[in-house]
Symmetry: C2
Subunit: 451 residues, 2 copies
């Protein structure tokens, strides 16, 4: 069993600094844990005897049972002393949410924590982080109405920025993208991105890993580890601090030295890591990699009910390295038989503005059961009156062909609601043809079968 | 008065092919018009005497009053004969929604229409289009629950693809982006993108023009016209058919020859047109250009409550050609006085995860009232518990400094709802730092004051 396992699967958790004052971080964390966690929760606060109906202790040393994990949310000045108590209580896994360390120049405080950790064999995540989020282990202190929690999924995230991570989680929840494990590493004085990569590599509930990275603790080791991991599952990284200005901002954010972006780029390439060029791509790519099988070659078909979007998708697909071969005469005939004469049976295939779900279903069957295409890019515009709710089921059922599918649904509220349904069924949906095409193209780089 | 004026400001409209059968296009158009248009509506259908409580006529020739605009939605075979009747009735403005012309090879049918139009001095929009959308002139046949209608705004759109246009309108409505005039030109046998540019140039309710373009009818004239227009108001174009494959798809979509993309790019540059590199940028750019004053130089400040997003924004701003000068010692002192010691007063300015609306207000005041910065990029993450609803008002009120503001709000449902409110108040909001930064940078190219 990994030393990190109890960070993710504890049976009992102490929250040191739990508060009964709404609005306080120590209150919000306890509330999130109560709503998500099935094990025992021990609030620690010397001034109160009960919070939210839970017996509250002065110190972890007052608890008789074994504690698997401690979450520390006290002021920076007393983090060391409560950590020492964790050590005495034989707690081996500690997440320190508290800030006030190297990010404000207090390196000495961190050294003190590390000394205690070494003495008691404690593993630490943080400090200056927002901890872990799993569906059944939610320690996020952001209010649930402001930051919706995502459902379970196969995408895991490591982030050096808590705020970045929380906005991304909120985005995932809003769009029906499930998350397996989310880890905010903060100042990562102990557990870092490299060790977490190793951990997630063995985690069967993780199929793809997304990372928000400002800097790595050890470039060489990072590359070596990533090289091993990408043999099993893809890694997508958004690197912040690309420009001189961005690099300077990294220094004042987490106190880390970001180094040259070009070196990071070279390292990513060498290790087989996929780089997200912008924030959108971090989730766009990790999501499709977690959900869809690899694209065996670059031959894909575009199927749409909107001519203009079909063209935009064709441009985007070609620019992303995909190819759009015309259907063979045999396949063309099959398409002619199932489509009205005004439909375009070239590639992109335009089912036109009176397309129905049935027309989509028949076309998907012809295309995906043929050896001429390895995947499909669907640009379904739901504004047209002929396209009813069953289009979601039709696309979902096309998973049976075992080939990758990427979908663009562009529009507003109606479209978003249906896009979320499709996303929840395991098909990635994007709001523009460019993003859908680029995501599909990423699957060529991923030669791994779905776990 | 322009010959085109009655397309946009008719007092009476005949709908030729109005239907009383729900689901039919002729029904949906009549319904949309009834819900939006304050003038007289005359449904034309020889088989029915009344639709939706409106007296229905066999032909426009049976109507006594003057008709400013006719919308034709009959089968392609009889478009010519009803157009002839429009001519006899002295209707000078006709929108032909019906398809079945050059997009399926029926060039002859279009020539026939043009002959009739010439004979009677009729101006035609279409055929094969979805017509015009204005808040008070809605002829869209897509159901309102599927395609929400945008509010009034100062952004106008010309589109060669109806489906593309309708998805974009839906996107605008969903995100609180107002639209002035939307024109789907279809096969544009008469009124084309060039004449509409001239018209919108004189339209006081249009501050920026976005175009979905597959091809232009006259390259030389297009450039000349655009050159004149951009002296008054910016033009943003998304060009579809960039690749060989995309160009071929254009041919089967509208029957037009798209020509070489490189020629279009050169023309856009020569004419001072802003090119949208993807679908998102078409609205991202047109929207900010319609709403915000020009950026006098590239010196901007980034203000955020999320360190990671601040770094990503810094990278994006620099890459977009903006510069992020550090505040002078005097300005730094002012910031120190209003911010907690752990805030970063470098640029990006990080108000940190316990930021309040008041902290934002004070910082915006220091930055925007200083001569050191010409604009501001705000990355407001609303997930944090300390940031309440008043952040929207705070940012809205910063308009008083007369400098451009671009905002990124990343996240889910809570965030989206508030982003829409801010958008409606005249401040453009984007879901990622990259898009917010690129939009702000576009304002440098726009040297025009707001109308």
């Amino acid at each position: 069993m990994s030393e990190l396992d109890k960070f993710f699967n504890p049976k009992s958790v102490a929250i040191i600094g739990a508060s009964h004052t709404p609005g306080k971080i120590g209150y919000a964390i306890l509330e999130s844990m109560k709503m998500s966690f099935n094990g025992k929760i021990y609030p620690i606060n010397p001034n109160i005897s009960e919070i939210m109906g839970l017996k509250t202790y002065s110190s972890v040393l007052d608890i008789e049972d074994q504690i698997d994990l401690a979450i520390i949310v006290v002021k920076s000045e007393i983090v060391a002393s409560v950590l020492e108590e964790c050590g005495k209580k034989k707690i081996r896994n500690v997440i320190i949410i508290s800030s006030g360390f190297s990010e404000i120049g207090n390196k000495k405080g961190e050294d003190e924590l590390l000394n205690i950790a070494k003495r008691y064999k404690i593993r630490i995540i943080g400090p200056n982080c927002i901890g872990i989020y799993k569906r059944n282990l939610d320690m996020l202190f952001m209010p649930r109405e402001k930051l919706k929690r995502p459902l379970d999924g196969y995408l895991s995230l490591i982030t050096q920025s808590g705020a970045f991570g929380s906005a991304i989680l909120d985005f995932c929840a809003y769009n029906g993208i499930g998350v397996s494990k989310f880890i905010s590493i903060g100042n990562r004085i102990d557990v870092n991105e490299i060790e977490l990569l190793e951990y997630l590599n063995k985690d069967v509930q993780t199929r793809a890993i997304g990372i928000y990275l400002e800097s790595t603790v050890d470039g060489k080791k990072f590359i070596e580890t990533a090289k091993t991991v990408v043999k099993n599952k893809p890694i997508v990284i958004f690197k912040a601090g690309k420009t001189k200005k961005g690099t300077e901002a990294v220094a004042s954010h987490t106190g880390a030295l970001a180094g040259e972006y070009s070196l990071y780029q070279a390292a990513f390439k060498q290790a087989g890591i996929i780089e997200a060029k912008n924030v959108e791509q971090l989730i766009d790519f990790t999501n499709i990699l977690a959900k869809q099988p690899p694209l065996q070659d670059n031959k894909i078909a575009i199927i749409t009910d909107g001519g203009g979007f079909g063209i935009a998708a064709a441009d985007a697909a070609i620019n992303a390295g995909l190819s759009l071969p015309e259907p063979s005469p045999i396949l063309s005939n099959k398409l002619k038989n199932i489509l009205p004469p005004y439909a375009s049976i070239k590639n992109p295939i335009d089912l036109t503005g009176d397309a129905t779900s049935e027309r989509y279903a028949n076309t998907l069957d012809v295309i995906l059961s043929s050896k001429e295409y390895s995947g499909v890019l669907i640009i379904a515009l739901l504004q047209i009156s002929t396209l009813d709710e069953s289009i979601i089921t039709v696309i979902e059922e096309a998973k049976k062909y075992g080939k990758p599918i990427s979908v663009c649904m562009a529009g507003g509220a109606w479209t978003h609601e249906r896009a979320v349904k499709l996303e929840l069924s395991g098909i990635p949906v994007y709001p523009t043809p460019e993003r859908a095409a680029e995501a599909l193209a990423i699957l060529i780089k991923n030669k791994l079968p779905l776990l």
